[in-house]
């Protein structure tokens, strides 16, 4: 073969881009050309066809489940989880079911989560779940939040739909002891909200932290700090370890207030 290093021109640059050897500036230039010049887009696509088969042999590894939760969250999608899931937290039909009758059933779930708390809670760091009951000033529970530490997720279930002024939405805040509130996200007032927790957020969850909901402009506080009144708040406490998630699910059904007095 007589190919030399000089006869490639642009096509060589596109090949280098696809292979991945260009520095940041070189990559940015090609990426721009791909967006603006048809020939560049075609040449890059052809090089991808040529070289991508190499990736076939890369060892596969299942990503952690919270990645999918974060993707859905980032895209505001509500697609059912695609992966085989187990346990209370993975039981999406349960959560959907909870959403249907949230006002009564959230209370039942709370009972379930708090029941075994008569035994001393396990040491922090070994907890699977944490919970918080956010009460309004009148003592009525507004939302319950359950945090799945393993899967880095929080589910916030409205217990009683809270009245909101027009153009306002409830925003959830994590308040570590003695620190400024950190926005967890805008939550729904009438159905459960699932929120992916980033590592920084996970690290701050604990019995000295609390959760609060404030009324903010739709889309959340523009400043990153609460601007509206606190409408519900609650401390965070440890939930029993999920030794028997199936057991807990069964109890939720057993204690459905619709089936009889709790």
């Amino acid at each position: 073969m007589n190919a030399t290093a000089d006869d490639g021109g642009d096509d060589l640059r596109y090949a280098e881009y696809v292979l991945g050897v260009l520095d940041a500036d070189g990559r940015a230039r090609v990426a721009h050309e791909v967006q603006t010049i048809d020939e560049a887009a075609i040449a890059v696509a052809v090089w991808q066809q040529r070289l991508m088969p190499l990736a076939e042999r890369v060892e596969e590894l299942a990503p952690p489940p919270y990645v999918w939760a974060r993707i859905l969250d980032a895209l505001h999608l509500g697609t059912p989880a695609p992966l085989k899931r187990q346990g209370l937290w993975e039981n999406l039909p349960l959560w959907h079911w909870l959403g249907v009758g949230a006002s009564v059933i959230a209370a039942a779930l709370l009972v379930v989560l708090f029941l075994p708390n008569r035994t001393p809670p396990p040491a922090a760091g070994h907890l699977d779940y944490m919970v918080s009951t956010m009460q309004q000033d009148n003592g009525v529970t507004g939302w319950t939040a359950t945090m799945d530490l393993q899967h880095a997720r929080m589910v916030v279930v409205p217990a009683t739909p809270v009245a909101m002024a027009e153009g306002r939405a409830p925003e959830l805040w994590l308040i570590p002891a003695g620190q400024k509130p950190i926005s967890v996200g805008v939550i729904d007032r009438d159905k459960p909200t699932t929120i992916a927790l980033d590592p920084a957020m996970l690290a701050r969850l604990g019995p000295t932290a609390s959760l609060a909901v404030t009324a903010e402009p739709l889309g959340g506080s523009p400043s990153g700090q609460p601007t509206g009144a606190v409408i519900a708040k609650g401390a965070i406490s440890g939930a029993p370890p999920a030794g028997a998630p199936g057991h807990q699910v069964a109890r939720v059904y057993v204690r459905d207030p619709g089936a009889g007095p709790v």
Binding site: M1, A3, T4, A5, D7, G8, D11, L12, A15, E16, V18, L19, G20, V21, L22, D23, A24, R27, A31, A45, Q48, Q49, R50, L51, M52, P53, L54, A55, E56, R57, V58, E59, E60, L61, A62, P63, P64, Y66, V67, W68, R70, I71, A74, L75, L77, G78, T79, P80, A81, P82, L83, P199
Partner: protein, 186 residues
């Protein structure tokens, strides 16, 4: 997920096309079928779990947003997806480090590919053709191309790892790319 059979490939293409029409179920199945592969690719390049998590998330949010531009006449779904995952990984590498965090591993010790007979039997026609063309390169040049592909290293980094002058590395890789083009386009 090794979409070696035409049926599997076609199924992935359809899932990606449906994702382009904002079909959430198709997107979920696409994720289920391809995320382990793409996570493997991200992890191989970034060599850091939490970064691979983040880049995989960026990859699939981009997939959702750009899927409508996927054209199965131009590329297969897996090629299209892998290219996005690699681009995101390489961009991440460039963002914050010219040198990898971990000790560079020697080109001669390139590993991590599944080279079992089973993997061999499952590999696609395209893969076997590419391997054949790579085999026609000088060993050092072939290894440089593979190292570049799997680690996303710049010319500078590759030259340091191989302890050769930058110009030598550039000429190895460029010559290899041109030879591969000729070989693959035959």
């Amino acid at each position: 997920m090794s979409p070696a059979t035409p049926t599997e490939r076609e199924h992935l293409n359809q899932l990606l096309i449906r994702t382009g029409r904002k079909d959430e179920k198709a997107f979920a199945e696409l994720y289920q079928r391809t995320s382990s592969k793409l996570f493997g690719v991200c992890l191989r390049m970034l060599r850091n779990r939490s970064e691979a998590d983040e880049v995989l998330q960026e990859t699939y949010t981009t997939v959702w947003r750009r899927a409508a531009s996927f054209d199965d006449a131009k590329a297969g779904a897996i090629t299209w997806l892998t290219a996005i995952a690699r681009n995101k990984s390489i961009d991440r590498l460039r963002q914050h480090r010219e040198e990898p965090l971990e000790d560079p591993y020697l080109i001669d010790s390139m590993g991590g590919d599944q080279t079992t007979p089973a993997a061999e039997a499952e590999s696609s026609h395209e893969y076997r053709r590419l391997e054949k063309c790579l085999d026609a390169l000088e060993p050092q040049q072939r290894n440089s191309v593979r190292e570049a592909f799997f680690t996303g290293a710049t010319y500078n980094e590759l030259a340091k790892r191989c302890q050769v002058p930058l110009g030598t590395m550039k000429s190895w890789i460029r010559r290899s790319l041109m030879q591969l083009r000729i070989c693959l386009d035959q």
